[in-house]
């Protein structure tokens, strides 16, 4: 009985190994077919030549809707190029970008020095292309009737870790002595990174029981809308969609209070809280005709598409500057 059991066990093991071998063999064949770009005309422009292949794109969830729109439109022109998009976050995207796994990395902030270093170590050269603006919008509840605008140092006082204002009275003496409730994106998001850099001087958010963090901006919207003495910030699109529930706070960056709007974000007067969104393109990958076609298409069509999904296009001359980087 015992030896028989052993033989059966061994037979089972062999079968299992064979199964694995078959699976991996199938998988290998499949990639070989899929990865080979078809040898179409490379020197004629993308609009005419039908290319094929796959372009790997990953990164920020903020930039995702723009790239989704671009990929969707691009597929109408080039149905054989696959351009799927992942959402690993700005940091996660750069990690994959700097190992050469992906051709394009979506980012809601510029690349950090340590990320640049790790790209250099792997010999990866890249181009950074700004694709649109997003205006970080500071909002309070509709029921809040005292906040008319905020200065940068007041924002720092409310959100910062040093010299923190616990109540609204600490911000301005004429405001009520009610506890401030903070709603902020979590530390992993590019949105927080940007806010941290321009408002908090990289010192990080205050950490006490008045702070609620969420990676989901819709949660932040509900949080602020539901608390009279709450304050929060997130991308402009989330304010625009919920303008009936929230009150936008004009920000005084030194030249008087400016309310974020499509115009003030576009012409740069809503400063410093309007931020550019980027795509980073691997230079070597850009040599592939299908990647080149995609990126060129992206830069030509991003002004209208970005606007459609709720972001603000750069001024025309800025787009010309970005396109000049392509080579």
């Amino acid at each position: 009985m015992n030896s028989r059991t052993r033989i059966r066990l061994q037979a089972g093991l062999v079968i299992a190994l064979l199964l694995l071998a078959v699976i991996s063999a199938c998988a290998n064949n499949a990639t070989n077919e899929g990865a080979t770009p078809s040898p179409t005309d490379t020197d004629s422009p993308a609009e005419t030549a039908q290319l094929s292949g796959q372009i790997e794109i990953d990164g920020s969830s903020t930039v995702f809707p723009i790239m989704e729109a671009i990929s969707e439109e691009f597929n109408k022109e080039q149905p054989n190029i696959k351009a799927p998009i992942g959402v690993s976050g700005t940091g996660g995207g750069f990690k994959r970008f700097c190992t050469g796994e992906i051709a394009i990395s979506n980012a809601s902030r510029p690349i950090k020095d340590e990320e640049k270093t790790s790209c250099q170590e792997k010999g990866i050269e890249f181009m950074d292309l700004a694709v649109a603006y997003d205006g970080l919008s500071v909002v309070v509840s509709k029921e809040n009737d005292f906040v008319d605008h905020l200065k940068i140092d007041e924002l720092t006082k409310i959100f910062g870790s040093e010299n923190t204002a616990k109540t609204w009275k600490d911000v301005r003496p004429e405001w009520p002595a009610e506890k401030i409730l903070i709603f902020s994106p979590g530390a992993d998001s590019g949105t927080f990174d940007y806010f941290n850099e321009v408002i908090l001087d990289k010192k990080g958010l205050r950490s006490d029981e008045a702070v609620s963090l969420s990676e989901d901006d819709n949660t932040l919207v509900q949080g602020v809308a539901g608390s009279k003495y709450g304050i929060g910030y997130f991308g402009f699109a989330y304010y625009e969609e919920n303008a009936d529930k929230l009150k936008i706070v004009p920000i005084d960056g030194g030249k008087g209070p400016i309310t974020p709007s499509r115009d003030t974000i576009k012409d740069g007067s809503y400063s410093p809280l309007s931020r550019p969104l980027f795509i980073y393109v691997n230079k070597k990958e850009y040599g592939r005709p299908e990647v080149r076609a995609f990126v060129d298409f992206a830069m030509d069509n991003v002004p209208t598409l970005a606007e459609e999904v709720g972001y603000i296009p750069l001024p025309d001359e800025k787009y010309a500057e970005q396109k000049a980087k392509l080579k």
Binding site: T5, A27, A30, F64, E68, E72, P84, I85, G86, V87
Partner: protein, 292 residues
């Protein structure tokens, strides 16, 4: 004297009845919390999402316009994964259960394996994501593909299947085995013709419930890199893929209200699929039970 005892008894009975009644209410409340929560969930989802249950949801790829957006690639991805996962996890899971119950000696090593399997059944799913990333994506170089996702999910459901299959096999009366041996059958004949048919309803229920868990999982697949926007169907095992929960999550985190309704519609599809699977588990169980 007699009078007094009766009155006391009467009071005690009343008291007991009252306690009985209270407990009954309490337990009814416990039961209804679950049902009420489910009802509220379903009603709010149906109200939000019903108008988006339309052919485009099943036939279109994701889109920036909610009016045109569908989840074809996500539905197909989920179903492909299910179709591959089911046979693999059935063979390995039931095989392991048969070995542990019927063949393995009850010694320390077996007990150690048993303990491990039970522990694995409770490990958070994100941990399987990390495991899958290390083993399938990196070590076996299967990349962020359908096959990596499937194998990771197989690992995730295996312990659950093994444990439930073991329970089912354990529940087969010893008499059946004895009868089979008495007729001169050897071990494998006994297992395959006496034990397994009798245990099959329980095993299948376990497998299908485990599959239902897998189809709702997001975390491990995000970890191994399932994609969010994908406008093609996987044509090979190494193609990139998406699954329903990831698509739903993406829609729900959009700023626009229409996408939230779309997400509700996606949840309805996912729930329908889950119900369908549970329903087929019941059907299969009834079918096999009749044959014994």
């Amino acid at each position: 004297m007699n009078q007094w005892t009766t009155a006391d008894d009467h009071k005690r009975v009343l008291m007991r009845r009252r306690i009985d009644f209270m407990l009954r209410l309490l337990f009814l409340l416990c039961t209804s919390i679950g049902i009420v929560a489910l009802a509220v969930l379903i009603v709010s989802i149906v109200v939000d999402g019903f108008r988006y249950i339309r052919p485009e949801l099943f036939l279109n790829y994701p889109s920036r316009r909610a009016a045109q957006a569908g989840m074809k690639s996500a539905i197909v991805g989920s179903i492909y994964m299910l179709l591959m996962m089911a046979p693999i996890s059935f063979v390995f899971g039931v095989g392991a259960a048969i070995y542990l119950e019927e063949y393995a000696k009850k010694n320390r090593a077996t007990r150690f394996i048993q303990l491990n399997i039970s522990t694995l059944a409770g490990v958070p799913s994100i941990v399987y994501g990390i495991l899958g990333l290390t083993i399938f994506v990196r070590f076996f170089a299967l990349e962020r593909s359908l096959i990596s996702g499937t194998l990771t999910m197989t690992l995730l459901v295996l312990p659950v299947i093994i444990v439930s299959a073991q329970e089912a096999i354990k529940a087969v009366p010893k008499i059946r085995r004895d009868a089979s041996f008495a007729l001169g059958a050897d071990k494998w004949q006994t297992v395959s013709r006496a034990v397994l048919p009798s245990a099959m309803p329980g095993i299948l229920t376990g497998v299908i419930l485990a599959m239902s868990r897998a189809i709702g999982e997001t975390a491990p697949l995000v970890m191994i890199g399932a994609l969010t926007y994908i406008s093609f169907l996987p044509s090979s095992l190494k193609d990139s893929f998406s699954v329903m929960p990831i698509q739903i999550f993406n829609w729900i985190s959009r700023p626009q209200e229409e996408f939230h309704s779309l997400a509700a519609a996606g949840i309805m599809v996912l729930l329908a699929l889950l119900l369908l699977m549970n329903f087929s588990a019941i059907l299969l169980r009834n079918k096999f039970q009749k044959h014994i």
